[in-house]
């Protein structure tokens, strides 16, 4: 046994640490602030002391945005098949079953129709805790159905992205979801129906390279990681450390790819104001 061991490379965060909405009585933000989870919830999952936006999923966003948490879910019954019979260190089927068990979700996105401050709209929201919010056939189809619903009822559309990108276990099928969702958005655009894309932490890969960057309004939460390639890939490509603040929402805004950054506590109000102006 040597006294020196090489540090493992690659993704080293154990899945158990990639927690989404906090459980338990207390929550500790990355900067070390501690807050009661009940208080956190009533504060839109933003830590009041350091404004840290806790990573949340569809359950929480729907609760924040839909009036009285009332909504009708779209295509809730969809679940991933395993079209390739894919297996890496674990069969994809097993991974899906585990994720369903762990999260209580059917896949990495949910879509629903409801009211926000009395305004009818359609929201699709990604769930990062389900295989990294990766987009396979189900996420693509749910986003597509959300767009179809918005189109059929002439309702504004909000898509909340939070994803590492396309799902490798569905390979070619996943790649084509970029095309599929963009095709649907092309139709929505023709019909003159507003589409707001909210990019949250993180939004990268195939999701940023399709619907997340195609909003009439591209907005983001503060500090969110947004990019095409993940920071690790960029670092390996250029062979040196990345500049501070690289690929943050603020960086992306500065470079002209976002309309504005919104604090989650103001999200509902800001969205309502904007959508009312377009009516």
């Amino acid at each position: 046994m040597s006294w020196f061991t090489r540090q493992p490379k690659g993704i080293t965060t154990p899945t158990s640490e990639k927690k989404d909405a906090p459980e338990g009585l207390w929550y500790k933000t990355p900067s070390g602030k501690i807050i009661q989870t009940r208080e956190l919830r009533s504060n839109c999952y933003v830590s009041p002391e350091d404004n840290y936006h806790v990573k949340i999923g569809s359950r929480e966003y729907f609760e924040i945005l839909f009036d009285d948490n009332q909504f009708t879910e779209i295509a809730a019954e969809l679940t991933s098949a395993d079209p390739l019979g894919f297996s890496d260190t674990k069969p994809y089927r097993q991974r899906l079953a585990d994720s369903r068990q762990k999260t209580g979700l059917n896949d990495a996105a949910r879509a629903a129709q409801g009211q926000m401050n009395g305004l009818d709209l359609v929201i699709a929201c990604m769930d990062f805790e389900f295989i990294g919010g990766s987009m396979g056939s189900v996420v693509g189809e749910k986003v597509a159905r959300a767009i179809d619903t918005a189109l059929a009822n002439r309702l504004p559309l909000l898509i909340i992205s939070r994803s590492g990108g396309a799902r490798m276990m569905e390979a070619g099928y996943s790649l084509m979801q970029l095309a599929k969702t963009s095709a649907k958005l092309a139709k929505l655009g023709e019909a003159g129906i507003p589409y707001i894309s909210l990019l949250t932490d993180p939004t990268t890969g195939g999701v940023s390279a399709s619907f997340a960057m195609l909003g009439d309004f591209n907005i983001a939460e503060p500090g969110a990681l947004i990019g095409f390639a993940g920071p690790r890939v960029v670092r390996e490509t250029i062979g040196k450390d990345l500049p501070k603040g690289f690929q943050t929402a603020e960086f992306v805004l500065e470079h002209g790819f976002l309309d504005f950054i919104v604090d989650r506590r103001q999200l509902k109000t800001r969205l309502t104001t904007l959508l009312k102006m377009l009516k």
Binding site: L84, D88, M168, L175, S182, A183
Partner: protein
């Protein structure tokens, strides 16, 4: 440079050449032996190329002698006027394009371009376009639409470039915009994956009425190496990753994610460049004839419907 599975064939071919030389030099009749070796070579080729693994096809798709976009354009187009620049940042050398005439019909020809030697590879950034490359491609497509000329794209890229400047200039936005805009193009769009079709970087110019793959090209969400690195957390599982991802032309056609396969000569596209170029030319002309029969609205509707129907899912 030979790939592992090309070596036994090359060895026999060397032997054949030596034998032919000996026959001529020494004025002896070796026609029987020569014929035997020629038969052996043919048999070995058929044997080898019939049972290529998926990884071997990936290797063939990257073969150093494989024809690249400009090779096809050179062969296909009698006139070619290359057009440069995205009108915003710069001219991306990894993405080339321009008007060309094939059999009297003007096409807009666009594609990623790789380099053949070290210097050229760097100049072409290994066929990895920056955002300005995708924006240049879109500019040229809009130009084609304006003058009512059909578009052919040649896809051959290990991916969109993942650099700092690419991020600063909105790589994701550039690709996303191309996807959406290509659906609305009023002219026929034919896309051909001639080598590597890696991820969004490939898809960014691959939304078409017909998407075709060369027999030994691959097209998927990620390269087998990167898939191995992420899912197996090691670079050593690229063969398994290639098998698992099923990225070959046959796979992609079976999944109905592409519209057709263009057969390559025995030994791959590089084994007979004139033959593959001729096949590609004929395919483009035939496909264009087919697409020209539809109205722009019909094409757009079918293009959208085709991609919108891609995906396999179940219900709880």
């Amino acid at each position: 440079m030979l790939l592992d599975f090309e070596k036994p064939i090359a060895d026999l071919e060397t032997k054949l050449a030596e034998m032919k030389k000996a026959a001529t030099d020494n004025q002896i009749d070796m026609s029987v032996s020569i014929a035997t070796i020629e038969e052996q070579i043919q048999a070995l080729k058929i044997e080898t190329y019939r049972k290529l693994t998926r990884w071997q096809r990936v290797q063939l798709s990257r073969h150093v002698d494989r024809p690249y976009t400009l090779d096809y354009i050179d062969y296909l187009a009698t006139d070619f006027v290359e057009l440069h620049g995205d009108r915003t940042v710069r001219d991306d050398k990894a993405m080339v394009g321009g008007f060309g005439t094939i059999d009297g019909q003007t096409f807009m020809l666009i594609g990623q371009q790789k380099g053949r030697n070290t210097k050229d590879r760097q100049f072409r950034n290994f066929g990895m376009a920056n955002p300005e490359g995708y924006r240049k491609a879109l500019r040229l497509m809009k130009l084609a639409e304006k003058f009512n000329k059909p578009i052919v794209t040649f896809i051959d890229t290990p991916g969109a470039f993942p650099g700092i400047e690419a991020e600063e200039r909105g790589q994701a936005e550039a690709i996303a915009r191309n996807l959406r805009e290509m659906f609305m193009l009023r002219v026929p769009v034919i896309c051909i994956i001639i080598g590597e079709g890696a991820s969004g970087g490939a898809l960014g110019i691959a939304i078409g009425d017909r998407v075709l793959m060369l027999e030994n090209a691959w097209y998927s969400v990620i390269s087998p190496e990167n898939c191995s690195a992420i899912l197996w957390r090691s670079w050593n599982y690229k063969e398994q990753a290639a098998e698992a991802m099923k990225p070959t032309a046959t796979d992609m056609l079976a999944f109905k994610l592409i519209d057709g396969i263009i057969d390559e000569p025995l030994g791959g596209a590089h084994a007979n460049k004139a033959a593959i170029a001729q096949t590609v030319k004929q395919t483009i002309l035939d496909t264009y004839q087919e697409l020209a029969k539809l109205t722009p609205d019909e094409r757009i509707e079918q293009r959208i419907q085709k991609f919108a129907s891609m995906g396999v899912y179940a219900t709880v």
